[in-house]
Point group: C2
Chain length 201, copies 2
């Protein structure tokens, strides 16, 4: 058997390899870089990892991340409109929308989209708490900011059905040309939807 | 100011971003993946990081990694020839040579190569301990397995000078065509060296 790294280094390479987008070579390069960098670089990274597993929770209302024992920055922000809810799939989508500065209401993180192939059923998503919040806030409008793929469409239809009894207005994000896009770079379905949704100027 | 992730997540993103080859987007994606994966994935990675900073040392002789309080697997291997030393720049080079199974002697990790531009001087490299080992083992041959770039050349010349008094035979890796390479893909300098070093068949 050829020589290998000592066990602690091998363990680190195995762990790094399991990260998304990290292959065996990158994992080895990263481990060697960390060994070279010394404990002043390694220990803060280890501490930051422990930090997210011990100090980060999800808000029971909106589902976004919050620091342990701290209030949710979204749900407790008095400047935000409490009568409009934007439904997203993942917590990271909240930040994407926030960075666009186009929305100043409440968020609701579903935790995914319906996908029978991946065994994601309505029970796996935060749909019950959404229905409850729509009634409690109460919300006059629910915006479904979901993916524009098959699963996103199916999830939107399911949510529209599930919220019908609340009589809230339900909308979806517009589909059409991306900013800065030209007809050359847009696929046919997007072009079709951009034509369907054309607006008078 | 737009909303951002809670502080523990931001701290992790900053740490991940400092790794080689990881940009801000990959760092964010990795952090979110770890949050999703839960502590069963995060804590072993944190422990493995602590592991390398607490349980890994360098062998005082060869400079390769060893597990704390364990003997050096290279220097204590009785099957290895003790009279030939292969000098490499980095510990990772040892494994590359071991995987080729072409060498069964002692190693010596320099810790880099001479590079005035990066402020790497002879004092920064493990040259003194090399000279000591050559006398102590004693070594009848020293193979310089260094990079074939300007700094590697300079380091090889420096080492040859520094070891001259030991009267050990000093050799360098052959330069020439890479295995599987054809003339099309080889640069002019490599071709020149392959011609100079041609061998009678």
């Amino acid at each position: 058997m050829p020589l290998d790294y000592p066990a602690p280094i091998q363990r680190l390479i195995v762990q790094l390899k399991s990260l998304p987008g990290i292959g065996p070579r990158s994992a080895e390069r990263m481990a060697l870089w960390l060994l070279q960098a010394g404990r002043e670089r390694v220990l803060p990274l280890a501490a930051a990892l422990k930090g997210i597993s011990e100090q980060v929770e999800r808000c029971e209302d909106c589902g976004f991340f919050l620091e342990l024992n701290a209030p949710c920055l979204l749900c407790t922000d008095a400047k935000r409109n409490r009568h409009i809810i934007c439904v997203v799939e993942q917590a990271a989508d909240v930040l994407r929308l926030e960075r666009s500065r186009a929305f100043q209401g409440q968020y609701h993180v579903l935790g995914g989209k319906l996908s029978p192939l991946d065994n994601v059923t309505p029970e796996d998503l935060r749909i019950e708490s959404l229905a409850r919040r729509v009634v409690e806030l109460p919300a006059t409008e629910v915006i479904l900011a979901l993916s524009s793929d098959v699963e996103g469409e199916a999830t939107a239809h399911y949510l529209a059905d599930a919220l019908r009894h609340t009589q809230t207005s339900i909308s979806r994000l517009a589909q059409g040309m991306p900013a800065g896009g030209n007809l050359d770079h847009v696929d046919e379905l997007t072009l079709y939807q951009a034509l369907q949704g054309r607006r008078v100027v």
